[in-house]
Symmetry: C2
Protein backbone atom coordinates (compact mmCIF):
# COMPACT_ATOMS: atom_id res chain seq x y z
CA UNK A 1 0.00 0.00 0.00
CA UNK A 2 0.96 3.62 -0.41
CA UNK A 3 2.59 5.52 2.40
CA UNK A 4 2.86 9.25 2.88
CA UNK A 5 6.56 9.46 2.09
CA UNK A 6 6.07 7.78 -1.29
CA UNK A 7 4.21 10.74 -2.61
CA UNK A 8 7.08 13.14 -3.22
CA UNK A 9 8.96 10.44 -5.09
CA UNK A 10 5.93 9.87 -7.30
CA UNK A 11 6.20 13.40 -8.60
CA UNK A 12 9.83 12.78 -9.50
CA UNK A 13 9.11 9.79 -11.74
CA UNK A 14 8.20 12.13 -14.59
CA UNK A 15 11.54 13.89 -14.07
CA UNK A 16 13.42 10.58 -14.15
CA UNK A 17 11.63 9.74 -17.39
CA UNK A 18 12.71 13.11 -18.84
CA UNK A 19 16.30 12.51 -17.77
CA UNK A 20 16.45 9.03 -19.28
CA UNK A 21 14.75 10.24 -22.45
CA UNK A 22 17.44 12.94 -22.73
CA UNK A 23 19.77 10.90 -24.91
CA UNK A 24 22.44 13.63 -25.07
CA UNK A 25 22.79 13.30 -21.30
CA UNK A 26 22.41 9.56 -20.95
CA UNK A 27 24.59 8.67 -23.93
CA UNK A 28 27.35 11.02 -22.74
CA UNK A 29 27.45 9.22 -19.38
CA UNK A 30 27.28 5.81 -21.06
CA UNK A 31 30.08 6.64 -23.48
CA UNK A 32 32.26 8.20 -20.78
CA UNK A 33 31.80 5.25 -18.41
CA UNK A 34 32.53 2.67 -21.11
CA UNK A 35 35.58 4.62 -22.32
CA UNK A 36 36.92 4.58 -18.76
CA UNK A 37 36.68 0.79 -18.55
CA UNK A 38 40.38 0.42 -17.76
CA UNK A 39 39.95 2.55 -14.63
CA UNK A 40 36.63 0.97 -13.67
CA UNK A 41 37.26 -2.75 -14.31
CA UNK A 42 37.54 -4.64 -11.02
CA UNK A 43 37.13 -1.42 -9.01
CA UNK A 44 34.64 -0.05 -6.47
CA UNK A 45 32.39 2.79 -7.59
CA UNK A 46 29.92 5.11 -5.85
CA UNK A 47 26.91 6.44 -7.79
CA UNK A 48 25.72 9.52 -5.87
CA UNK A 49 21.98 10.12 -6.34
CA UNK A 50 21.49 6.95 -8.35
CA UNK A 51 17.82 7.58 -9.20
CA UNK A 52 16.62 4.81 -11.49
CA UNK A 53 20.11 3.25 -11.29
CA UNK A 54 21.05 3.50 -14.94
CA UNK A 55 24.56 4.89 -14.34
CA UNK A 56 25.26 2.04 -11.91
CA UNK A 57 24.24 -0.43 -14.62
CA UNK A 58 26.65 1.25 -17.04
CA UNK A 59 29.46 0.96 -14.48
CA UNK A 60 28.88 -2.81 -14.17
CA UNK A 61 28.89 -3.03 -17.97
CA UNK A 62 32.30 -1.30 -17.82
CA UNK A 63 33.50 -4.01 -15.46
CA UNK A 64 33.08 -2.53 -11.97
CA UNK A 65 33.57 -5.07 -9.18
CA UNK A 66 31.09 -3.26 -6.93
CA UNK A 67 28.86 -0.23 -7.31
CA UNK A 68 27.36 1.50 -4.27
CA UNK A 69 24.24 3.22 -5.57
CA UNK A 70 23.17 5.90 -3.08
CA UNK A 71 19.59 7.11 -3.39
CA UNK A 72 17.90 9.23 -0.72
CA UNK A 73 14.31 9.04 -1.99
CA UNK A 74 11.80 6.22 -1.72
CA UNK A 75 12.73 5.37 -5.30
CA UNK A 76 15.63 3.30 -3.83
CA UNK A 77 13.30 0.31 -3.45
CA UNK A 78 12.50 0.50 -7.16
CA UNK A 79 16.18 0.90 -8.04
CA UNK A 80 16.77 -2.46 -6.33
CA UNK A 81 14.18 -4.03 -8.64
CA UNK A 82 15.97 -2.60 -11.67
CA UNK A 83 19.26 -4.05 -10.41
CA UNK A 84 17.68 -7.49 -9.95
CA UNK A 85 15.95 -7.35 -13.36
CA UNK A 86 19.40 -6.78 -14.89
CA UNK A 87 20.91 -9.67 -12.91
CA UNK A 88 23.36 -7.35 -11.18
CA UNK A 89 22.36 -7.82 -7.53
CA UNK A 90 25.82 -9.24 -6.79
CA UNK A 91 27.56 -6.18 -8.20
CA UNK A 92 25.31 -3.24 -7.27
CA UNK A 93 24.34 -2.44 -3.70
CA UNK A 94 21.55 0.11 -3.43
CA UNK A 95 21.91 2.23 -0.28
CA UNK A 96 18.73 4.03 0.71
CA UNK A 97 19.85 7.13 2.57
CA UNK A 98 21.40 10.57 2.35
CA UNK A 99 24.81 10.68 0.67
CA UNK A 100 26.23 12.50 3.69
CA UNK A 101 25.13 9.74 6.05
CA UNK A 102 25.58 6.37 4.35
CA UNK A 103 28.40 4.14 5.48
CA UNK A 104 30.35 2.22 2.84
CA UNK A 105 32.32 -0.94 3.65
CA UNK A 106 35.36 0.35 1.74
CA UNK A 107 36.94 3.38 0.10
CA UNK A 108 36.16 3.63 -3.61
CA UNK A 109 38.15 4.18 -6.78
CA UNK A 110 35.51 6.03 -8.79
CA UNK A 111 32.64 8.45 -8.16
CA UNK A 112 30.00 8.80 -10.82
CA UNK A 113 27.14 11.24 -10.39
CA UNK A 114 24.71 13.18 -12.48
CA UNK A 115 24.38 16.06 -10.03
CA UNK A 116 23.88 19.02 -12.37
CA UNK A 117 20.85 21.27 -12.08
CA UNK A 118 19.50 24.03 -14.28
CA UNK A 119 22.21 26.62 -14.88
CA UNK A 120 24.54 24.02 -13.34
CA UNK A 121 23.98 24.92 -9.68
CA UNK A 122 20.17 25.14 -9.23
CA UNK A 123 19.07 22.40 -6.80
CA UNK A 124 22.29 20.64 -7.67
CA UNK A 125 23.59 17.65 -5.72
CA UNK A 126 27.19 18.85 -5.98
CA UNK A 127 27.61 19.48 -2.23
CA UNK A 128 26.63 15.83 -1.59
CA UNK A 129 29.09 14.63 -4.22
CA UNK A 130 31.87 16.70 -2.63
CA UNK A 131 31.01 15.24 0.75
CA UNK A 132 31.20 11.67 -0.56
CA UNK A 133 34.44 12.45 -2.44
CA UNK A 134 36.17 13.82 0.67
CA UNK A 135 35.03 10.91 2.81
CA UNK A 136 35.11 7.86 0.53
CA UNK A 137 37.19 8.45 -2.62
CA UNK A 138 40.74 7.05 -2.59
CA UNK A 139 43.49 9.60 -3.19
CA UNK A 140 43.84 10.09 -6.94
CA UNK A 141 40.48 8.38 -7.58
CA UNK A 142 38.40 9.10 -10.65
CA UNK A 143 35.60 11.68 -10.74
CA UNK A 144 32.98 11.27 -13.50
CA UNK A 145 32.57 14.03 -14.53
CA UNK A 146 35.78 15.75 -13.43
CA UNK A 147 35.20 19.32 -14.52
CA UNK A 148 32.20 21.64 -14.91
CA UNK A 149 32.01 25.06 -16.55
CA UNK A 150 29.38 27.76 -16.67
CA UNK A 151 28.90 30.00 -19.73
CA UNK A 152 27.26 33.37 -20.22
CA UNK A 153 26.21 35.36 -23.28
CA UNK A 154 24.01 38.36 -24.10
CA UNK A 155 20.93 37.35 -26.11
CA UNK A 156 17.92 38.51 -28.08
CA UNK A 157 14.73 36.90 -26.79
CA UNK A 158 11.99 36.61 -29.39
CA UNK A 159 10.13 34.10 -27.22
CA UNK A 160 9.37 36.63 -24.49
CA UNK A 161 8.27 39.15 -27.14
CA UNK A 162 5.89 36.56 -28.61
CA UNK A 163 4.42 35.69 -25.24
CA UNK A 164 3.76 39.38 -24.53
CA UNK A 165 2.21 39.93 -27.94
CA UNK A 166 -0.57 37.58 -26.75
CA UNK A 167 -1.94 40.39 -24.56
CA UNK A 168 -2.16 42.68 -27.58
CA UNK A 169 -3.87 40.10 -29.76
CA UNK A 170 -6.27 38.33 -27.42
CA UNK A 171 -8.54 41.33 -26.77
CA UNK A 172 -9.10 41.92 -30.48
CA UNK A 173 -10.60 38.45 -30.69
CA UNK A 174 -13.27 39.35 -28.13
CA UNK A 175 -13.74 43.03 -29.11
CA UNK A 176 -12.12 44.38 -25.95
CA UNK A 177 -8.66 45.75 -25.12
CA UNK A 178 -6.50 43.59 -22.83
CA UNK A 179 -3.18 45.22 -23.74
CA UNK A 180 -3.08 47.08 -20.42
CA UNK A 181 -1.94 43.77 -18.91
CA UNK A 182 1.21 43.66 -21.01
CA UNK A 183 3.56 45.43 -18.57
CA UNK A 184 2.37 43.20 -15.73
CA UNK A 185 2.73 40.07 -17.85
CA UNK A 186 6.27 41.26 -18.67
CA UNK A 187 7.08 41.52 -14.96
CA UNK A 188 5.62 38.03 -14.40
CA UNK A 189 7.73 36.45 -17.11
CA UNK A 190 10.97 38.29 -16.34
CA UNK A 191 10.79 38.37 -12.53
CA UNK A 192 13.01 35.32 -12.24
CA UNK A 193 15.40 33.14 -14.19
CA UNK A 194 13.51 31.39 -17.00
CA UNK A 195 14.51 27.88 -18.00
CA UNK A 196 13.80 27.54 -21.71
CA UNK A 197 15.56 26.86 -25.01
CA UNK A 198 17.65 29.68 -26.47
CA UNK A 199 18.24 29.61 -30.22
CA UNK A 200 21.85 29.91 -31.37
CA UNK A 201 20.89 32.80 -33.66
CA UNK A 202 19.79 34.74 -30.57
CA UNK A 203 23.33 34.72 -29.11
CA UNK A 204 24.68 38.26 -29.60
CA UNK A 205 28.38 37.85 -28.75
CA UNK A 206 30.98 35.15 -28.34
CA UNK A 207 29.97 33.37 -25.10
CA UNK A 208 32.23 33.66 -22.07
CA UNK A 209 33.27 30.73 -19.93
CA UNK A 210 32.63 32.54 -16.64
CA UNK A 211 33.65 29.80 -14.24
CA UNK A 212 35.16 26.32 -14.11
CA UNK A 213 35.06 23.90 -11.22
CA UNK A 214 37.71 21.21 -10.90
CA UNK A 215 35.53 18.53 -9.33
CA UNK A 216 38.50 16.71 -7.84
CA UNK A 217 39.24 19.78 -5.71
CA UNK A 218 36.27 22.14 -5.43
CA UNK A 219 34.94 22.65 -1.90
CA UNK A 220 31.42 23.35 -0.65
CA UNK A 221 32.64 26.81 0.41
CA UNK A 222 33.72 27.53 -3.17
CA UNK A 223 30.07 27.12 -4.18
CA UNK A 224 28.53 29.38 -1.53
CA UNK A 225 29.27 32.61 -3.37
CA UNK A 226 30.34 32.40 -6.97
CA UNK A 227 31.28 35.73 -8.54
CA UNK A 228 32.78 36.47 -11.92
CA UNK A 229 33.37 39.42 -14.23
CA UNK A 230 32.50 39.33 -17.93
CA UNK A 231 33.00 41.48 -21.01
CA UNK A 232 31.39 40.95 -24.41
CA UNK A 233 31.83 42.60 -27.81
CA UNK A 234 28.59 42.26 -29.76
CA UNK A 235 28.50 40.68 -33.21
CA UNK A 236 26.18 43.24 -34.78
CA UNK A 237 22.93 45.15 -34.78
CA UNK A 238 20.24 43.68 -32.50
CA UNK A 239 17.95 44.23 -29.55
CA UNK A 240 19.70 42.82 -26.50
CA UNK A 241 16.92 41.48 -24.31
CA UNK A 242 18.75 39.42 -21.74
CA UNK A 243 21.58 37.14 -20.77
CA UNK A 244 21.66 33.38 -21.00
CA UNK A 245 23.67 30.83 -19.03
CA UNK A 246 24.39 27.18 -19.72
CA UNK A 247 27.03 24.67 -18.74
CA UNK A 248 29.11 21.73 -19.80
CA UNK A 249 30.86 18.94 -17.95
CA UNK A 250 33.94 16.98 -19.01
CA UNK A 251 34.65 13.28 -18.44
CA UNK A 252 38.37 12.53 -18.32
CA UNK A 253 38.51 9.31 -20.28
CA UNK A 254 41.51 8.70 -22.55
CA UNK A 255 39.34 10.33 -25.23
CA UNK A 256 37.49 12.92 -23.08
CA UNK A 257 33.72 13.14 -23.40
CA UNK A 258 31.99 16.52 -23.29
CA UNK A 259 28.36 16.84 -22.18
CA UNK A 260 27.32 20.31 -23.32
CA UNK A 261 24.05 22.12 -22.76
CA UNK A 262 25.03 24.96 -25.09
CA UNK A 263 22.55 26.47 -27.55
CA UNK A 264 25.11 25.45 -30.19
CA UNK A 265 24.67 21.78 -29.21
CA UNK A 266 21.71 19.42 -29.35
CA UNK A 267 19.00 20.41 -26.87
CA UNK A 268 18.95 18.69 -23.48
CA UNK A 269 16.35 18.65 -20.71
CA UNK A 270 18.42 21.38 -19.01
CA UNK A 271 17.76 23.73 -21.94
CA UNK A 272 19.28 27.16 -21.14
CA UNK A 273 18.61 29.72 -18.42
CA UNK A 274 17.56 33.25 -19.31
CA UNK A 275 17.67 36.49 -17.34
CA UNK A 276 15.58 39.10 -19.18
CA UNK A 277 16.43 42.79 -19.03
CA UNK A 278 13.74 45.13 -17.72
CA UNK A 279 14.69 47.50 -20.53
CA UNK A 280 16.05 45.98 -23.74
CA UNK A 281 19.09 47.74 -25.17
CA UNK A 282 19.99 48.37 -28.79
CA UNK A 283 23.44 46.97 -29.58
CA UNK A 284 25.51 47.06 -32.75
CA UNK A 285 28.86 45.71 -33.92
CA UNK A 286 31.49 45.94 -31.19
CA UNK A 287 29.08 47.28 -28.56
CA UNK A 288 30.75 46.47 -25.26
CA UNK A 289 28.62 44.68 -22.64
CA UNK A 290 30.41 44.17 -19.37
CA UNK A 291 29.64 43.44 -15.75
CA UNK A 292 29.63 40.96 -12.94
CA UNK A 293 27.56 37.81 -12.33
CA UNK A 294 27.12 36.58 -8.77
CA UNK A 295 25.42 33.35 -7.74
CA UNK A 296 24.38 32.97 -4.11
CA UNK A 297 21.80 30.98 -2.12
CA UNK A 298 18.29 32.47 -2.45
CA UNK A 299 17.52 34.93 0.32
CA UNK A 300 14.29 33.13 1.29
CA UNK A 301 15.16 29.49 0.68
CA UNK A 302 18.73 28.26 0.41
CA UNK A 303 17.75 25.26 -1.75
CA UNK A 304 17.25 27.94 -4.42
CA UNK A 305 19.60 30.46 -6.00
CA UNK A 306 19.81 34.18 -6.56
CA UNK A 307 21.57 35.27 -9.73
CA UNK A 308 22.74 38.86 -9.32
CA UNK A 309 23.62 40.58 -12.54
CA UNK A 310 25.37 43.95 -12.74
CA UNK A 311 26.03 45.15 -16.24
CA UNK A 312 26.59 48.18 -18.42
CA UNK A 313 26.30 48.60 -22.17
CA UNK A 314 29.04 50.85 -23.64
CA UNK A 315 29.12 53.99 -21.52
CA UNK A 316 25.48 53.81 -20.41
CA UNK A 317 24.53 53.68 -16.76
CA UNK A 318 25.22 50.46 -14.89
CA UNK A 319 22.18 48.31 -14.04
CA UNK A 320 21.94 45.78 -11.21
CA UNK A 321 19.18 43.23 -10.71
CA UNK A 322 18.62 40.05 -8.74
CA UNK A 323 16.98 37.14 -10.59
CA UNK A 324 15.70 34.52 -8.17
CA UNK A 325 15.94 30.95 -9.37
CA UNK A 326 13.14 29.23 -7.48
CA UNK A 327 10.56 26.69 -8.48
CA UNK A 328 12.00 26.46 -11.99
CA UNK A 329 10.42 23.16 -12.96
Amino acid sequence: METTEDISAYADMEIHADMLADSVRTNAYRLAILRCWEQIRGKAVVDVGAGTGILSLFCVQAGARKVYAIEASALAEETRKVVRANGMEGRIEVLHGRAEEVELPEKVDVIVSEWMGYSLLYESMLPSVIHVRDKWLKKGGLMLPSEASLYLAPIADADTEDRLQFWEDIGTKYHVDMSALKPYAHRCITRKVQVKPVQMEDILASPAKVMTFDLTEVSVEDLSCVKTAFSFKCYGWSQMQGFSTWFDVVFPSPKPVLLSTSPYSQETHWMQSVMSLDDPVQVTQDTRVKGVLKITPNSRNNRFLDMTLRYSVDNREEVERIYPMDDCR
Copy 2:
Protein backbone atom coordinates in the same frame (compact mmCIF):
# COMPACT_ATOMS: atom_id res chain seq x y z
CA MET B 1 8.34 47.78 -6.90
CA GLU B 2 7.54 44.15 -6.23
CA THR B 3 6.16 43.04 -2.91
CA THR B 4 6.01 39.56 -1.47
CA GLU B 5 2.30 39.12 -2.03
CA ASP B 6 2.60 39.89 -5.73
CA ILE B 7 4.48 36.70 -6.33
CA SER B 8 1.61 34.23 -6.09
CA ALA B 9 -0.41 36.33 -8.50
CA TYR B 10 2.50 36.26 -10.96
CA ALA B 11 2.22 32.51 -11.24
CA ASP B 12 -1.45 32.90 -12.06
CA MET B 13 -0.84 35.16 -15.06
CA GLU B 14 -0.05 32.14 -17.21
CA ILE B 15 -3.34 30.60 -16.07
CA HIS B 16 -5.25 33.76 -16.96
CA ALA B 17 -3.63 33.68 -20.39
CA ASP B 18 -4.74 30.05 -20.80
CA MET B 19 -8.29 30.94 -19.76
CA LEU B 20 -8.52 33.87 -22.17
CA ALA B 21 -6.96 31.83 -24.96
CA ASP B 22 -9.65 29.18 -24.36
CA SER B 23 -12.09 30.55 -26.90
CA VAL B 24 -14.74 27.90 -26.17
CA ARG B 25 -14.93 29.26 -22.63
CA THR B 26 -14.55 32.95 -23.35
CA ASN B 27 -16.87 33.00 -26.36
CA ALA B 28 -19.56 31.07 -24.44
CA TYR B 29 -19.53 33.74 -21.71
CA ARG B 30 -19.45 36.55 -24.26
CA LEU B 31 -22.36 35.10 -26.23
CA ALA B 32 -24.40 34.35 -23.10
CA ILE B 33 -23.86 37.85 -21.67
CA LEU B 34 -24.71 39.60 -24.93
CA ARG B 35 -27.81 37.41 -25.42
CA CYS B 36 -28.99 38.43 -21.95
CA TRP B 37 -28.77 42.14 -22.83
CA GLU B 38 -32.44 42.72 -21.99
CA GLN B 39 -31.85 41.52 -18.42
CA ILE B 40 -28.49 43.30 -18.08
CA ARG B 41 -29.20 46.71 -19.68
CA GLY B 42 -29.34 49.41 -17.04
CA LYS B 43 -28.81 46.90 -14.23
CA ALA B 44 -26.19 46.24 -11.52
CA VAL B 45 -23.98 43.18 -11.93
CA VAL B 46 -21.41 41.42 -9.74
CA ASP B 47 -18.49 39.60 -11.36
CA VAL B 48 -17.19 37.16 -8.72
CA GLY B 49 -13.46 36.44 -9.19
CA ALA B 50 -13.08 38.93 -12.01
CA GLY B 51 -9.45 38.06 -12.81
CA THR B 52 -8.38 40.08 -15.84
CA GLY B 53 -11.86 41.67 -15.91
CA ILE B 54 -12.97 40.42 -19.30
CA LEU B 55 -16.44 39.27 -18.17
CA SER B 56 -17.05 42.69 -16.61
CA LEU B 57 -16.17 44.32 -19.94
CA PHE B 58 -18.69 42.04 -21.69
CA CYS B 59 -21.38 43.05 -19.18
CA VAL B 60 -20.79 46.73 -19.94
CA GLN B 61 -20.99 45.91 -23.65
CA ALA B 62 -24.37 44.31 -22.87
CA GLY B 63 -25.51 47.59 -21.30
CA ALA B 64 -24.91 47.12 -17.55
CA ARG B 65 -25.30 50.33 -15.55
CA LYS B 66 -22.71 49.20 -13.02
CA VAL B 67 -20.46 46.15 -12.66
CA TYR B 68 -18.82 45.32 -9.33
CA ALA B 69 -15.74 43.30 -10.24
CA ILE B 70 -14.54 41.40 -7.16
CA GLU B 71 -10.96 40.12 -7.29
CA ALA B 72 -9.13 38.80 -4.22
CA SER B 73 -5.62 38.62 -5.67
CA ALA B 74 -3.10 41.38 -6.30
CA LEU B 75 -4.21 41.22 -9.93
CA ALA B 76 -7.05 43.63 -8.95
CA GLU B 77 -4.72 46.60 -9.52
CA GLU B 78 -4.10 45.39 -13.08
CA THR B 79 -7.82 44.79 -13.63
CA ARG B 80 -8.35 48.50 -12.89
CA LYS B 81 -5.87 49.37 -15.65
CA VAL B 82 -7.80 47.15 -18.08
CA VAL B 83 -11.04 48.91 -17.13
CA ARG B 84 -9.46 52.34 -17.71
CA ALA B 85 -7.89 51.26 -21.02
CA ASN B 86 -11.40 50.31 -22.18
CA GLY B 87 -12.83 53.65 -21.01
CA MET B 88 -15.19 51.91 -18.58
CA GLU B 89 -14.03 53.38 -15.27
CA GLY B 90 -17.47 54.96 -14.76
CA ARG B 91 -19.25 51.62 -15.19
CA ILE B 92 -16.94 49.03 -13.60
CA GLU B 93 -15.80 49.25 -10.01
CA VAL B 94 -12.98 46.85 -9.17
CA LEU B 95 -13.18 45.69 -5.55
CA HIS B 96 -9.94 44.21 -4.25
CA GLY B 97 -10.95 41.74 -1.56
CA ARG B 98 -12.49 38.38 -0.75
CA ALA B 99 -15.96 37.84 -2.17
CA GLU B 100 -17.23 36.92 1.30
CA GLU B 101 -16.04 40.22 2.74
CA VAL B 102 -16.58 42.99 0.20
CA GLU B 103 -19.38 45.47 0.81
CA LEU B 104 -21.46 46.60 -2.17
CA PRO B 105 -23.42 49.87 -2.15
CA GLU B 106 -26.52 48.11 -3.50
CA LYS B 107 -28.17 44.77 -4.18
CA VAL B 108 -27.56 43.51 -7.70
CA ASP B 109 -29.69 42.11 -10.52
CA VAL B 110 -27.14 39.76 -12.04
CA ILE B 111 -24.21 37.60 -10.90
CA VAL B 112 -21.69 36.52 -13.48
CA SER B 113 -18.79 34.27 -12.52
CA GLU B 114 -16.45 31.81 -14.10
CA TRP B 115 -15.98 29.71 -10.99
CA MET B 116 -15.57 26.22 -12.43
CA GLY B 117 -12.51 24.09 -11.68
CA TYR B 118 -11.24 20.83 -13.08
CA SER B 119 -13.96 18.20 -12.81
CA LEU B 120 -16.24 21.15 -11.94
CA LEU B 121 -15.49 21.29 -8.20
CA TYR B 122 -11.67 21.18 -7.89
CA GLU B 123 -10.48 24.46 -6.37
CA SER B 124 -13.75 25.95 -7.52
CA MET B 125 -14.97 29.37 -6.43
CA LEU B 126 -18.56 28.16 -6.19
CA PRO B 127 -18.82 28.60 -2.40
CA SER B 128 -17.83 32.27 -2.82
CA VAL B 129 -20.42 32.71 -5.57
CA ILE B 130 -23.11 31.17 -3.36
CA HIS B 131 -22.13 33.51 -0.55
CA VAL B 132 -22.40 36.57 -2.79
CA ARG B 133 -25.70 35.30 -4.21
CA ASP B 134 -27.29 34.86 -0.79
CA LYS B 135 -26.07 38.26 0.40
CA TRP B 136 -26.28 40.54 -2.62
CA LEU B 137 -28.51 39.12 -5.37
CA LYS B 138 -32.06 40.52 -5.57
CA LYS B 139 -34.82 37.93 -5.31
CA GLY B 140 -35.33 36.40 -8.76
CA GLY B 141 -32.05 37.85 -10.00
CA LEU B 142 -30.09 36.31 -12.86
CA MET B 143 -27.27 33.79 -12.36
CA LEU B 144 -24.77 33.41 -15.22
CA PRO B 145 -24.38 30.46 -15.48
CA SER B 146 -27.53 29.14 -13.81
CA GLU B 147 -26.97 25.40 -13.89
CA ALA B 148 -23.97 23.06 -13.77
CA SER B 149 -23.84 19.30 -14.40
CA LEU B 150 -21.19 16.65 -13.91
CA TYR B 151 -20.86 13.66 -16.24
CA LEU B 152 -19.21 10.27 -15.85
CA ALA B 153 -18.29 7.53 -18.30
CA PRO B 154 -16.12 4.39 -18.37
CA ILE B 155 -13.14 4.80 -20.71
CA ALA B 156 -10.23 3.13 -22.42
CA ASP B 157 -6.98 5.02 -21.78
CA ALA B 158 -4.38 4.57 -24.49
CA ASP B 159 -2.43 7.56 -23.19
CA THR B 160 -1.52 5.87 -19.90
CA GLU B 161 -0.53 2.72 -21.83
CA ASP B 162 1.76 4.80 -24.05
CA ARG B 163 3.38 6.53 -21.10
CA LEU B 164 4.09 3.18 -19.45
CA GLN B 165 5.48 1.70 -22.66
CA PHE B 166 8.30 4.27 -22.29
CA TRP B 167 9.79 2.15 -19.48
CA GLU B 168 9.88 -0.87 -21.76
CA ASP B 169 11.48 1.00 -24.64
CA ILE B 170 13.97 3.33 -22.99
CA GLY B 171 16.29 0.61 -21.65
CA THR B 172 16.68 -0.98 -25.07
CA LYS B 173 18.14 2.28 -26.30
CA TYR B 174 20.93 2.10 -23.74
CA HIS B 175 21.37 -1.70 -23.67
CA VAL B 176 19.91 -2.12 -20.19
CA ASP B 177 16.51 -3.19 -18.87
CA MET B 178 14.44 -0.47 -17.16
CA SER B 179 11.09 -2.26 -17.43
CA ALA B 180 11.14 -3.13 -13.72
CA LEU B 181 10.07 0.47 -13.11
CA LYS B 182 6.82 0.02 -15.03
CA PRO B 183 4.59 -0.99 -12.06
CA TYR B 184 5.91 1.92 -10.00
CA ALA B 185 5.42 4.35 -12.88
CA HIS B 186 1.88 3.00 -13.18
CA ARG B 187 1.24 3.77 -9.52
CA CYS B 188 2.70 7.26 -9.99
CA ILE B 189 0.46 8.05 -12.93
CA THR B 190 -2.72 6.52 -11.54
CA ARG B 191 -2.37 7.49 -7.87
CA LYS B 192 -4.60 10.50 -8.30
CA VAL B 193 -7.09 12.09 -10.67
CA GLN B 194 -5.34 12.98 -13.94
CA VAL B 195 -6.41 16.10 -15.83
CA LYS B 196 -5.88 15.39 -19.52
CA PRO B 197 -7.79 15.15 -22.79
CA VAL B 198 -9.92 12.05 -23.32
CA GLN B 199 -10.69 11.10 -26.92
CA MET B 200 -14.33 10.50 -27.76
CA GLU B 201 -13.46 7.09 -29.23
CA ASP B 202 -12.21 6.07 -25.76
CA ILE B 203 -15.69 6.49 -24.21
CA LEU B 204 -17.04 2.98 -23.64
CA ALA B 205 -20.69 3.64 -22.76
CA SER B 206 -23.29 6.35 -23.00
CA PRO B 207 -22.13 8.95 -20.42
CA ALA B 208 -24.26 9.52 -17.32
CA LYS B 209 -25.20 12.95 -16.03
CA VAL B 210 -24.42 12.11 -12.41
CA MET B 211 -25.36 15.41 -10.80
CA THR B 212 -26.88 18.78 -11.58
CA PHE B 213 -26.67 21.92 -9.46
CA ASP B 214 -29.31 24.60 -9.78
CA LEU B 215 -27.07 27.59 -9.11
CA THR B 216 -29.99 29.78 -8.06
CA GLU B 217 -30.63 27.42 -5.13
CA VAL B 218 -27.60 25.21 -4.35
CA SER B 219 -26.12 25.68 -0.87
CA VAL B 220 -22.53 25.33 0.37
CA GLU B 221 -23.68 22.30 2.38
CA ASP B 222 -24.93 20.63 -0.80
CA LEU B 223 -21.32 20.73 -2.05
CA SER B 224 -19.65 19.25 1.03
CA CYS B 225 -20.47 15.64 0.19
CA VAL B 226 -21.70 14.87 -3.27
CA LYS B 227 -22.70 11.25 -3.82
CA THR B 228 -24.33 9.61 -6.80
CA ALA B 229 -24.99 6.15 -8.18
CA PHE B 230 -24.30 5.21 -11.79
CA SER B 231 -24.94 2.30 -14.12
CA PHE B 232 -23.50 1.85 -17.62
CA LYS B 233 -24.07 -0.65 -20.41
CA CYS B 234 -20.91 -0.87 -22.53
CA TYR B 235 -20.98 -0.31 -26.28
CA GLY B 236 -18.73 -3.21 -27.19
CA TRP B 237 -15.47 -5.06 -26.81
CA SER B 238 -12.69 -3.05 -25.14
CA GLN B 239 -10.26 -2.80 -22.25
CA MET B 240 -11.89 -0.59 -19.66
CA GLN B 241 -9.03 1.30 -18.03
CA GLY B 242 -10.76 4.00 -16.04
CA PHE B 243 -13.54 6.48 -15.61
CA SER B 244 -13.66 10.03 -16.86
CA THR B 245 -15.58 13.03 -15.57
CA TRP B 246 -16.36 16.35 -17.22
CA PHE B 247 -18.97 19.06 -16.83
CA ASP B 248 -21.11 21.60 -18.58
CA VAL B 249 -22.80 24.80 -17.48
CA VAL B 250 -25.94 26.41 -18.92
CA PHE B 251 -26.64 30.12 -19.35
CA PRO B 252 -30.35 30.89 -19.28
CA SER B 253 -30.62 33.47 -22.03
CA PRO B 254 -33.73 33.45 -24.26
CA LYS B 255 -31.68 31.14 -26.48
CA PRO B 256 -29.70 29.23 -23.81
CA VAL B 257 -25.94 28.91 -24.20
CA LEU B 258 -24.18 25.67 -23.24
CA LEU B 259 -20.51 25.65 -22.25
CA SER B 260 -19.51 21.99 -22.43
CA THR B 261 -16.19 20.38 -21.55
CA SER B 262 -17.26 17.01 -22.95
CA PRO B 263 -14.88 14.86 -25.01
CA TYR B 264 -17.56 15.14 -27.71
CA SER B 265 -17.11 18.93 -27.80
CA GLN B 266 -14.17 21.14 -28.73
CA GLU B 267 -11.34 20.86 -26.20
CA THR B 268 -11.16 23.45 -23.42
CA HIS B 269 -8.43 24.23 -20.89
CA TRP B 270 -10.40 22.10 -18.41
CA MET B 271 -9.88 19.02 -20.61
CA GLN B 272 -11.33 15.96 -18.82
CA SER B 273 -10.53 14.22 -15.53
CA VAL B 274 -9.49 10.58 -15.46
CA MET B 275 -9.48 8.00 -12.68
CA SER B 276 -7.48 4.98 -13.83
CA LEU B 277 -8.28 1.48 -12.63
CA ASP B 278 -5.52 -0.43 -10.86
CA ASP B 279 -6.59 -3.48 -12.84
CA PRO B 280 -8.09 -2.89 -16.30
CA VAL B 281 -11.19 -4.94 -17.06
CA GLN B 282 -12.26 -6.56 -20.31
CA VAL B 283 -15.74 -5.39 -21.30
CA THR B 284 -17.95 -6.31 -24.22
CA GLN B 285 -21.35 -5.34 -25.57
CA ASP B 286 -23.86 -4.80 -22.76
CA THR B 287 -21.32 -5.38 -19.96
CA ARG B 288 -22.87 -3.69 -16.95
CA VAL B 289 -20.62 -1.25 -15.02
CA LYS B 290 -22.26 0.16 -11.94
CA GLY B 291 -21.34 1.83 -8.69
CA VAL B 292 -21.20 5.02 -6.69
CA LEU B 293 -19.13 8.19 -7.05
CA LYS B 294 -18.55 10.35 -3.99
CA ILE B 295 -16.82 13.74 -3.97
CA THR B 296 -15.60 15.08 -0.62
CA PRO B 297 -12.97 17.50 0.62
CA ASN B 298 -9.46 15.96 0.55
CA SER B 299 -8.53 14.36 3.85
CA ARG B 300 -5.26 16.31 4.12
CA ASN B 301 -6.18 19.66 2.58
CA ASN B 302 -9.77 20.79 2.17
CA ARG B 303 -8.92 23.06 -0.77
CA PHE B 304 -8.53 19.77 -2.63
CA LEU B 305 -10.93 16.92 -3.35
CA ASP B 306 -11.16 13.19 -2.85
CA MET B 307 -13.05 11.30 -5.52
CA THR B 308 -14.17 7.97 -4.09
CA LEU B 309 -15.20 5.43 -6.68
CA ARG B 310 -16.94 2.15 -5.85
CA TYR B 311 -17.75 0.05 -8.87
CA SER B 312 -18.38 -3.46 -10.09
CA VAL B 313 -18.27 -4.92 -13.59
CA ASP B 314 -21.04 -7.45 -14.26
CA ASN B 315 -21.01 -9.90 -11.37
CA ARG B 316 -17.33 -9.44 -10.51
CA GLU B 317 -16.23 -8.30 -7.09
CA GLU B 318 -16.85 -4.68 -6.15
CA VAL B 319 -13.77 -2.41 -6.06
CA GLU B 320 -13.42 0.79 -4.04
CA ARG B 321 -10.65 3.37 -4.38
CA ILE B 322 -10.04 6.97 -3.40
CA TYR B 323 -8.51 9.22 -6.04
CA PRO B 324 -7.13 12.41 -4.50
CA MET B 325 -7.45 15.52 -6.63
CA ASP B 326 -4.58 17.67 -5.40
CA ASP B 327 -2.06 19.82 -7.17
CA CYS B 328 -3.66 19.11 -10.54
CA ARG B 329 -2.15 22.01 -12.46
